[in-house]
């Protein structure tokens, strides 16, 4: 039916070419993914909801456009899966929370609009940690998602459903959101590519807010090229987001194609190794080994490594958990049981509507963070916590600015460990500390990418590496990541489900 194409490994680029050449229709393509989902979803549970009829309706509309010579672009008919905190008109948007159970969005997010305008088929709603708070998807109030590479392990988080959907081959690509590593860490855990764009590059309009000064939407894909294609599509200015930057992505996919034609080498590229990161105790031996091998690969491409220093690294986590929880407590105040979402049936007066709806609607991690955020913002503590954290954020940004004086990119692990087993990290503080390599990037506002690098020796789970670059230098990231992807010893990352 798919003329020999394997939907599991089919990239956006390949799907686009296949549709263009008439190798298969969007309907055939989507049917293949739906068949695959019927097989894998009972085990993986990446999606919170999937409406096969709606998917096939979108696919058939795409086929009709293409047949009439009115395709909306190269991605018309290509399925993309969205995290359940990104609004799509008339689709559920629950953030994996009881407080938004049954909520159907009355409007499209900016990125959903962009995908629809390009003819993409929106396939399913991906599971996540409740309100994107977590690193394993275990905080979803709805279901646990399994890692397609090892069903007793977590897919990472908070965009774990998006990562697992791509890795289990039930879609071409996905969008996630990244507040402290929520795209890059699950991408690493599931063997897919994940991009955290520069803050302000992709509109947050229609993304349910967690920490507004840190949140950013980005693609999760089977290849670096696909990430560039989707980034080109969703990047750009939006009047509906006051933090949206002017301009667009500048054509990252075209730049990458030109780079490939020239041989995709990294001669003369200076890659910084932050010594404070590699000195950390908690990095597992197998992750270190994957990083060492990746460095060899990058050296063979002509890259030069240089040590850099990010001296305030040890304060990043503390800074992050003050800013993120403070902003979350403020953002989540809107869930009050009045205008939308869950209202406690027990509530008899206005105050009990607030207290009971929120008490019954939010899960334990969300409550913990609202409590922390409320505490650090409360009278008498604001200067000591939130204001001080914002000042430390300035110090962290300066660290990066200084480091980029002597390098073009920074190379780090994505996570100190590979995907862990369910229930393995029960202590909230320990769970927070596993985000150490990804959070600083959200504080600095710069861009970063997670690329699959190898299979870790002990756990047998995939492990990614991270490249970071200064704000708006996504092209630089894509080039390094693409060169690495072509040269890495492990060519294909395919979970055997």
């Amino acid at each position: 039916m798919m003329n020999g194409s394997d939907p599991v490994t089919l990239t956006v680029r390949e799907a686009s070419a296949g549709l263009e050449h008439g190798d298969f229709s969007s309907t055939e393509l989507c049917r293949a993914f739906l068949d695959r989902a019927a097989l894998t979803e009972p085990k993986v549970r990446a999606l919170l909801s999937l409406d096969p009829e709606d998917v096939l309706r979108q696919a058939s509309a795409s086929d009709a456009r293409r047949k009439a010579g009115r395709a909306l672009g190269p991605l018309d008919g290509v399925p993309v899966t969205l995290k359940d905190n990104i609004a799509v008109k008339d689709a559920p948007c629950t953030c994996a929370s009881k407080i938004l159970k049954g909520f159907v969005s009355p409007y499209d997010s900016f990125v959903a609009r962009r995908l629809k305008d390009a003819g993409c088929v929106l396939l399913g709603r991906a599971n996540m940690d409740e309100f994107a708070m977590g690193s394993s998807c275990e905080n979803s109030a709805c279901q646990k998602t399994a890692n397609p590479w090892g069903l007793d392990r977590v897919p990472g988080g908070s965009s774990g459903g998006s990562a697992a959907a791509v890795a289990s081959g039930i879609t071409c690509a996905a969008l996630g959101s990244d507040t402290g590593g929520s795209i890059r860490q699950p991408a690493s855990f599931c063997g897919v590519v994940g991009l955290k764009p520069t803050y302000g590059r992709v509109s947050r309009n229609g993304l349910v807010a967690f920490a507004s000064s840190l949140d950013q939407i980005g693609p999760m894909t089977k290849s670096v090229y696909d990430a560039a294609l989707l980034f080109d599509l969703i990047a750009g200015h939006d009047d509906g987001d006051t933090t949206s930057l002017p301009g667009d992505s500048g054509g990252c996919a075209a730049d990458l194609a030109a780079f490939e034609e020239k041989g995709a080498g990294l001669k003369g590229v200076r890659i910084g190794l932050p010594k404070e990161y590699f000195e950390l105790d908690g990095i597992s031996g197998e992750v270190r080994a994957v990083c060492e091998q990746a460095k060899e690969t990058l050296r063979s491409l002509g890259a030069e490594f240089t040590e850099v220093s990010l001296p305030h690294t040890k304060y990043a986590m503390a800074c992050y958990y003050i800013i993120a929880t403070a902003e979350a407590s403020s953002n989540l105040a809107r869930f009050d049981g009045i205008r939308y979402g869950y209202r406690s049936p027990e509530a008899a007066d206005i105050n009990s509507v607030y207290f009971r709806s929120r008490g019954e609607g939010f899960g334990p991690e969300v409550k913990r963070r609202i409590m922390l955020g409320t505490y650090v913002l409360s009278s008498g503590y604001y200067d000591a916590y939130y204001l001080r954290a914002q000042k430390v954020r300035t110090l962290l940004r300066r660290d990066f600015e200084k480091a980029y004086e002597s390098c073009d990119l920074i190379f780090t692990p994505v996570s100190p460990v590979t995907a862990f087993r369910f229930g393995e990290k029960a202590d909230p503080l320990q769970m927070y500390l596993s985000d150490i390599f990804t959070i600083a990037l959200n504080l600095s506002g710069d861009c970063g990418i997670s690329v699959p690098a190898g299979i870790a020796a002990e756990s047998g789970m995939p492990s990614g590496i991270q490249f970071m670059a200064p704000a708006l230098q996504e092209k630089r990231l894509f080039r390094a990541a693409r060169a690495f992807e072509c040269a890495r010893p492990q060519k294909e990352f395919r979970a055997s489900l």
Binding site: F103, V104, P106, Y107, T198, Y199, S213, L214, T242, T243, L245, H312, Y315, M317, A318, C319, Y321, S329, A333, R339, Y340, Y342, A347, D349, I350, Y354, F355, R358, G359, E360, P364, K367, R368, I370, M371, L372, T374, Y375, V376, S378, A384, Y385, L387, R388, A389, Q390, K391, V392, R393, T394, L395, R397, P428, L429, Y432, N442, L443, G445, D446, A471
Partner: protein
Amino acid sequence: MDGKADGIDVAEVAKLARLELEPDRIPSLQKEMEAIVGYVNMLAELDTDQIEPTVHAVDRVNIIREDVPGEPCPRELMLRTAPATVDDELVRVPQVLPGEGMA
């Protein structure tokens, strides 16, 4: 901020946050919050007196646009998401002011 965080009044913070907590959850939440606040207190080590705070990662000044009306989300669509309505025209809430209740 001395590296410890004893004595967080969890019930008071919950009141500020408009969160009803299960009473048996308070002691464990107190322990967790004190551990986390104790950890973030490490920021007190840094001298930040002369440092400007970062409010947003990317500096932006006020954004001006033409004063023309946009197209708001239709009222009936927004009301569809409300937990309870009056005649599909108003959001229904429990009584706010003391006195005789409305029917």
